[in-house]
Amino acid sequence: MFFDSFAEFLAMGKHGFYVWLCYGITALVIIANILAPIRQRKKLIEQQVRLQRREKKNASEA
């Protein structure tokens, strides 16, 4: 460990604000990039499931 205490680690010399801001923004952008395709996949499959159910219903009524 480079720092002597956890408080020093957080302070990053005088650069704590800049360092943590960078890592925070990066974490947010990466998380958004992971969540977006997961949500899209869910939506896509739900949509197709609904479509199939409707088609099935229509077929049995006809």
């Binding site: 460990m1 480079f2 720092f3 680690f9 990053m12 010399g13 005088k14 650069h15 704590g16 800049y18 360092v19 801001l21 960078c22 890592y23 923004i25 990066t26 952008v29 990466i30 958004a32 990039n33 992971i34 977006a36 395709p37 997961i38 899209q40 996949r41 896509l44 499959i45 197709q48 499931v49 199939q52 159910r53």
Partner: protein
């Protein structure tokens, strides 16, 4: 050898084959990506020594440099995928290009914003209009332009073609970014990593940086797989194999 390559190319062109094989590949990229990025971050933030000139603000390098490298190589990959679509009409290539664009733009944004935040304590300013920063900003706008074109036209085919052409034209910007710190006077420091010579960085600072670069590339591959898989599902939704896949989901 040639025959094997040709076979691989034809398989890569098959959405169903890609969908099935990528499901098996995904964990082999996603898990190491998480491991490399966690190890690299902890090492870079807590264990690497501080820079004797810049102090602790230099730790921003562990995201700034990997993001910048990736933003550029992602752009080149997107352009290559676009060229494959233009020349051989491989639909999968168009879908991969569309998957890369938002991911590459994200990394380009990370490189720009972390660069600006790093610039404040180091240069005393958030932004200068010098060659490196301006060409990198242009890269972000090129990504936005390609993304817009990929959705702009009446048919998917012309949209993909338009996006591919812009991405190929924008390719000239990549060597400009790379050599901008050598051709023009700039505040930006010259490259830390060099392929042909020894790097200018101490080993205990360099190793976590290399770990982070590998981690970013693995994450990039994971994200491309996820997005392209969605694209395959959407485009093949009327095909039997996707219908069966959906049926299994419906019965759950």
């Amino acid at each position: 050898m040639w025959e094997a390559l040709k076979r691989l190319y034809h398989r890569m062109g098959s959405p169903k084959w890609f969908y099935e094989i990528s499901a098996r590949w995904l964990p082999w990229f996603a898990i190491p990506a998480a491991l490399f990025m966690i190890v690299g971050t902890v090492w870079g933030l807590a264990f690497a020594p501080a820079d004797y000139q810049q102090g602790n603000s230099f730790r921003i390098i562990y995201i700034h440099v990997p993001a910048a490298i990736l933003a550029q190589s992602a752009y080149a990959m997107m352009a290559i995928a676009g060229a494959i679509y233009l020349i051989w009409r491989m639909k999968m290539a168009a879908w991969v290009a569309a998957a890369i664009a938002p991911i590459g733009a994200s990394f380009c944004f990370i490189a720009l914003i972390t660069g600006a935040i790093w610039g404040k304590p180091t240069w005393g300013t958030w932004w200068v209009w010098d060659a490196r920063l301006t060409s990198m900003l242009l890269l972000l706008f090129l990504y936005f332009g390609v993304m817009a074109l990929q959705k702009a036209m009446d048919t998917e085919d012309t949209s993909a073609k338009a996006g591919a052409i812009l991405s190929l034209v924008g390719l000239v910007n990549i060597p400009i970014i790379k050599y901008s710190v050598e051709w023009w006077n700039t505040l930006h420091q010259p490259a830390t990593l060099k392929l042909t010579e020894e790097s200018t960085m101490a080993m205990d600072m360099l190793i976590p940086l290399l770990i982070m670069i590998v981690g970013f590339y693995l994450l990039f591959a994971t994200l491309i797989f996820m997005r392209t898989r969605n694209s395959v599902l959407w485009h093949e939704r009327k095909k039997n194999w996707v219908k069966k896949l959906v049926q299994v989901q419906a019965e759950k």
